[in-house]
Symmetry: C2
Subunit: 372 residues, 2 copies
C-alpha cells in the first residue's frame, strides 16, 4: 500500500440475508449518524435509560439490571459467563452447535469445571435432558443453553426449563443472539436469570452492542463472589452504577454513544410494530421461504427451525461457495455458509428484522433459482 | 414510564471540549451512517484492512498485528493486559493518575503480582524512575505506563524508556488513549511493544473502538503463554486470524461494521491533514487556550501539560459543577470535571481533533468568562 490515501467510503447496498448482520433500515442509519453527545450528558443519560427500558420490554422482563454491553454479542456472552462464574465453580452447558461450545470455552477460562450435555448439531433438547442434567451434576451453579443456535438454525423450547433449573438451585443463562426481536422471548415468565443477545440480527441494528439482563438472583450470586470478575471491562458490579445508579452515574468507560442511538431507534421500531406482530411476520416469512426452498429441493437441517435463520443442506453436486459468491456479486444478496461441522455443506439464510419481508424472500428465491 | 413510545432521537449539537468524546465532524457522522455490509463481505474486509493500515501510519509502526478492538479504550487496556499477563507473572505499573491505577486493577485480575511506582497525580516520571523500577523488580515481564493521563492532563515523555525496559528483558506497554492523533506517538521508534488508545479523543470519532498494536516480541510472549488468555472476546491469538489472516478470515465475532466505517473516515481525515500539521495545530491551540485560561487566573495542574487535555485547578470560591452546568445549558459547551483526587477541584478542557480550533477556543474562553 502506498502513502496515498484510500478511496472515499462507499459501501454497496447489499441485501443482508445471512446469519447477521441483517439489513439496517434508513431510520437507524440516520440515527447512528446523529451528533455525538458526551457520555455523562443529561440528554444522553436519558436516551440510555430509555434504551434500557425498551430492552426490558423486548425481553419481557422487569429486571432493573438490563443494559447494552459495550461490545458485540460475544462480549455479552462473556459478560454473563465471567460475572456468574469464578475459579472452583461448576457449570452445565447444553451443546448443540457452535455457540454452546463457545460458552464452554469461556466457562473454562473462568476456571470453572464444565459439564456438557450434547445432542447432534441441529437437534434440540427435551425437558428430560434438562432434568437429567441437573440430577447428574447437582453441584453446578448455573445451566447455560442457547435459545436460537445461529450455527444450526435450531430453536430451543425453553418452556419449563427455568423451573427445572431453579428447583435444582441453579441459575439459568440463555443465549438469545438470534432470537431477540424475532422470536417470543419471555425472560421473566421463563425464569431466565441471565441473558445476552446481539443488535445486528432481528433488531436490524448495526453490530456493536449486546443487550443483557440479570435477575435479582443472578445479582445476589454476583454480589457473593469470592474474587472480583476477571474482566474489568465487563464487571457488572461496576457497570450497574453507570446503568442503574440512582445516586448519579459513575464513569466506568465511555459508552459507544452513537451505537446506543442506533439501538434506541431499532428498539423504537420494534415496539412500534409490536412484539406479537413482529414475531408473526417472521413466522409468515419463514413459511414463505421454506415453501420456496423446498420447491427448489433444499432440505432444512434442524427439526425445529428458527423463523429467523433458515439452515438448509446443500446437495453435494452444488458448489455452495460459488453460489453464495454469485448471489453476492450478481445480485448484491448475502447469505451465509455453514459453520463448524456444517462448513461447506449448508446455507444459512437469515430472515431478520428489516430483511424479513415478502419482497426480499421473493427476490432471494428468484436469484437463488438462477444460480442453481 | 408508560407503554407509550419515546420521542424521536434529537441530540443537541454540543461543542465537546471535555476529556472525550470530542466533537465528531459531519464527514464521520455521514460515514458511520453508511449501509451496513456483512463482516465477511470482501468489500468490508478491504475497508478493515485499510483501517488497520491507517492505524499503523498514525501509530508510526510497521507492526502487522495492528487493529481496532471491538470495544472502547478500556477494552483496549484489557486486551493488552490480559494477553500479555497470566497467573504467576510479575508486572510493573507506573501510576500518576486514574488510568495507571486501572491497569494495576486489571493486572491483578489476571493473577499477576503487580509492583507500582507512584508519583503525585499531575507529575510525570523521569528516565531515572524507569531505570530504578526495572532494577528494583527485575522479574517483571512488562512495564506499563500512561502516555497521556486523561485524569490529570500530564504528558509522559517516553524517549529512552523503551531501551531501559528492553535492556531489562521486559515488554513496554503504553496507554495512548488521549494522545493518538494529537501528540507525536512513535510506536516503533520508542520501542513500544503493546499500545492501546480510543477513537473518541483526538481522532474525533465516536467512542466504540480501541486501536491496538503489538510488536513481534509481544506476539512471542502471547504465543508462549502457559494458559489461554482469560478473555475469549479479547484473545489476540484468535483475533489475529480475523485481522491479519492470510489464509482467509476466520469468523471470531461480528465486527462493529459501522464503527469501523467511522474510524476509517477519521483516520483518512488525520492523514489528509498530516501528522506533523495535526500535532502542531493541537500545540498552537493549547498555547492559545493556556494564555486565555491564565488570564482568567486559572492555573494548570501538571508541569508537563498535554496539548490535547488541559487540566486546571478551580479556586475554592468557584462552584465548579455549577459553571460546567451553565456552560452546558446556556452555551451547549461540554467541559469535564476533575476525576479521582481532583474531583470537584479541577476542570479538564479537551482540545481534541475537530474541537481544537481557534474558533472553539475563543468561544469557550468567552463563555467561561461569562460564567465565572
Amino acid at each position: 500500500m502506498s502513502e496515498n490515501l484510500f478511496d472515499a467510503l462507499n459501501p454497496r447496498e447489499r441485501l443482508l440475508m445471512g446469519p447477521g448482520p441483517s439489513t439496517v433500515p434508513a431510520r437507524i442509519l440516520k440515527a447512528i449518524g446523529s451528533p455525538t453527545l458526551g457520555h455523562l450528558d443529561p440528554q444522553y443519560i436519558e436516551y440510555m435509560d430509555q434504551t434500557c427500558e425498551m430492552i426490558r420490554r423486548v425481553y419481557q422482563t422487569q429486571n432493573p439490571l438490563t443494559f447494552p454491553v459495550s461490545g458485540t454479542g460475544m462480549a455479552g456472552m462473556e459478560t454473563v459467563v465471567s460475572n456468574l462464574l469464578e475459579q472452583g465453580d461448576e457449570a452445565i452447558v447444553m451443546i448443540n452447535g457452535v455457540f454452546g461450545g463457545r460458552m464452554k470455552d469461556m466457562m473454562q477460562r473462568c476456571g470453572a469445571t464444565v459439564h456438557t450435555v450434547e445432542v447432534p448439531w441441529g437437534d434440540t433438547f427435551t425437558l428430560q435432558h434438562f432434568e437429567d442434567a441437573v440430577k447428574q451434576f447437582p453441584a453446578a451453579k448455573m445451566l447455560a443453553v442457547v435459545h436460537a443456535e445461529t450455527s444450526t438454525g435450531a430453536l430451543q423450547d425453553l418452556a419449563g426449563v427455568g423451573d427445572v433449573v431453579h428447583q435444582a438451585g441453579m441459575l439459568l443463562a440463555v443465549d438469545a443472539v438470534t432470537s431477540i426481536g424475532g422470536h417470543d422471548l419471555q425472560v421473566d415468565q421463563w425464569g431466565i436469570d441471565a441473558i445476552y443477545s446481539g443488535t445486528q440480527k432481528c433488531l436490524a441494528c448495526p453490530p456493536g452492542l449486546s443487550p443483557v439482563s440479570f435477575s435479582a438472583k443472578a445479582i445476589e450470586v454476583i454480589e457473593a463472589r469470592k474474587a472480583p470478575c476477571q474482566s474489568w471491562y465487563l464487571d457488572v458490579s461496576m457497570l450497574k452504577n453507570y446503568y442503574t445508579g440512582s445516586g448519579g452515574r459513575a464513569y466506568h468507560h465511555t459508552a459507544p454513544i452513537n451505537m446506543v442511538y442506533a439501538l434506541r431507534e431499532a428498539l423504537q421500531i420494534v415496539l412500534e410494530e409490536g412484539l406479537e406482530q413482529r414475531f408473526e411476520r417472521h413466522r409468515q416469512m419463514h413459511l414463505l421461504l421454506r415453501k420456496g426452498l423446498e420447491e427448489l429441493g433444499l432440505q432444512y437441517i434442524p427439526k425445529q427451525s428458527l423463523h429467523t435463520l433458515n439452515c438448509v443442506s446443500v446437495p453435494d453436486v452444488i458448489d455452495e461457495a460459488k453460489v453464495r459468491q454469485r448471489l453476492l456479486h450478481e445480485f448484491d444478496i448475502e447469505i451465509g455458509g455453514g459453520l463448524g461441522v456444517f462448513a461447506g455443506k449448508a446455507w444459512r439464510i437469515g430472515l431478520m428484522g428489516h430483511s424479513a419481508t415478502e419482497k426480499n424472500v421473493t427476490t432471494l428465491l428468484a436469484a437463488l433459482k438462477k444460480c442453481l
